[in-house]
């Protein structure tokens, strides 16, 4: 079926409280902030938040609002701007449970979720770290039936809902990314329900020449939110740059630890 075109506030009403939410966007780019802000405004509790291999505001803001119980993320930070204040505070204070994971295991777990594969043995490397040893939820030992060796394995991840930001949707609801799909397409393919925010709508047929791997067909998308500038203060490549001033203001507000201090960042960004 084809997706519905709705506004962000309506789109997020479909997110079940305490369910698993996947949020796309990598580092300071393409965070689906229009959807994240709407969800935080609604104060929907997130049972488990799954991010891209590297997240920033799309993870720290819901954590700052006190809405996240568990986090599956290989990185929450703001690159050159510094550490993630709410994430740090919540983990150091013991109010956020982290299911430690790395970029490889997460990416393969999402791919497995998209593919009906129940679990994936990990590539080499993770076995030499402490990551798989601290919690058995995401890492268990499996015996390779071909060579008899023991390996670490991760379970498939299929978020109940996924938010990603894309460049455009056509009138039928097919979606296209502009330049870097990151792991957002993989996460989208693993979603049980997929909500996409886009910068603009283009006529049906416009995406015909987009190469494979840069689009998502309409039948995989549940709802589309047209939100120009919706990723701000993060960047959308080729559309608008990162707003470091707003990001710095957020970091200062979040460092105070006062949930009300981050309230201004729940309003829609302005370009």
């Amino acid at each position: 079926m084809r997706p519905r075109f709705v506004d962000a506030d309506e789109a997020v009403t479909s997110v079940e409280p305490d369910s698993t939410l996947g949020v796309g966007g990598m580092q300071l780019t393409a965070a689906p902030m229009a959807l994240v802000r709407a969800l935080v405004r609604r104060r929907t509790r997130i049972g488990r938040l799954v991010t891209s291999p590297s997240a920033s505001l799309q993870a720290d803001l819901p954590i700052a609002a006190g809405l996240v119980d568990e986090l599956v993320s290989p990185y929450v930070g703001f690159e050159h701007l510094g550490l993630a204040p709410a994430f740090r505070r919540a983990v150091e204070g013991g109010s956020l449970r982290v299911l430690e994971i790395d970029e490889g295991s997460l990416t393969h777990a999402l791919h497995a979720g998209a593919s009906g594969i129940p679990f994936v043995p990990c590539p080499p490397g993770i076995d030499l770290t402490d990551i798989p040893r601290v919690d058995p939820t995401l890492f268990r030992r499996v015996v390779d039936p071909f060579d008899g060796t023991e390996r670490w394995a991760v379970p498939a991840i299929r978020p109940d809902t996924v938010f990603v930001a894309a460049a455009v949707a056509d009138e039928h609801g097919n979606v296209a990314f502009d330049r870097f799909p990151f792991t957002d397409r993989t996460m989208a393919l693993a979603a049980r329900r997929l909500l996409v925010e886009v910068e603009e709508v283009v006529p049906a047929g416009s995406l015909a020449d987009r190469p494979p791997g840069t689009t998502l067909p309409a039948f995989l998308v549940d709802a589309i939110v047209v939100a120009p500038g919706g990723c701000l203060p993060t960047e959308y490549p080729g559309r608008y740059g990162r707003d470091d001033e707003t990001l710095r203001a957020y970091l200062a507000a979040a460092k105070t630890g006062d949930p009300d201090a981050v309230a201004p960042f729940l309003e829609e960004a302005r370009r």
Binding site: S73, V76, P123, E235, R242
Partner: protein, 252 residues
């Protein structure tokens, strides 16, 4: 005042270590390793390739050094890999030669910790997370760099291994392999590793004494030849770096 900044010197140290034809991968906050790769390409390693983190861009030559590893400023590059392919190839283990990495803590055997200082359950300092550092052993070698060289960052043993270095001794289950960290670059000095995989002081930067380096290091480096002074950036190196770094990211 020197003609150059410590960060510019660090870029030169890394660049000189890169070999023509190698393929380098790097992660968040890529300005320094990117500068090193672009400098190496402009001097002795024209066929060096590098991949900038989450962007998947291969050997981009942007107008200025980017602050973020996923910015559209990195396009156009020679070609761009989808991020899932970069992740796959990091696991494959024979695709990339050099991994540039860092850590909140770095230990005597080159283990890196980006996860937690103190107890993992209730850390004193929660780091951002490990991203791709578990893949460090899958490249031929890794280069560790940090802007913070103190007894708290340079420790005998990291509190949490999130990026594997060399094994910490002959008793450890994993054998010592040539693969692993080969170079550590800080604002004070550069290190390599001895044949047991323990960090060894190689050069001290101009104006820094060996005693200052040892005082800033929370473990006793392996014995080795007397450290030399890190060669200063040449005029050519500086000219190339400053042409790359129009925003002066390396000069702050």
């Amino acid at each position: 005042m020197t003609r150059w900044t410590t960060t510019e010197l660090m870029a030169c140290v890394i660049a000189r270590d890169l070999v023509d034809g190698e393929v380098v991968v790097m992660g968040a906050v890529p300005a320094l390793p990117m500068a090193a790769c672009l400098l190496a390409r402009a001097t002795h390693a024209p066929n060096l390739d590098f991949i900038v983190g989450g962007s998947g861009t291969v050997s981009p030559a942007p107008d200025r050094l980017p602050a973020s590893s996923c910015t559209g400023e990195l396009a156009p590059a020679e070609v761009t890999l989808p991020l899932p392919d970069v992740v796959s190839l990091e696991g494959r283990g024979d695709a990339f030669d050099v991994f540039c990495a860092g850590g909140l803590q770095i230990d005597a055997h080159g283990n890196c910790n980006l996860v937690a200082v103190g107890d993992w359950e209730r850390p004193k300092l929660r780091g951002p997370g490990t991203v791709g550092l578990p893949f460090l052993p899958n490249t031929k070698r890794s280069i560790i760099y940090t802007q913070s060289h103190t007894p708290r960052t340079f420790v005998e043993r990291v509190d949490f291994v999130s990026g594997p270095g060399h094994p910490s001794g002959p008793d450890e289950a994993r054998p010592y392999r040539k693969q692993g960290p080969s170079l550590v670059v800080t604002p004070l000095a550069s290190f390599d590793f001895d044949e047991t995989g323990r960090m060894r002081l190689r050069t001290v930067h101009p104006g820094v004494t060996v005693d200052e380096v040892l005082a800033a290091t929370g473990f006793e480096p392996a014995p080795g030849p007397d450290p030399s002074t890190t060669p200063e950036p040449t005029e050519e190196e500086l000219a190339i770096l400053r042409d790359l770094d129009r925003d002066g990211v390396l000069r702050r």
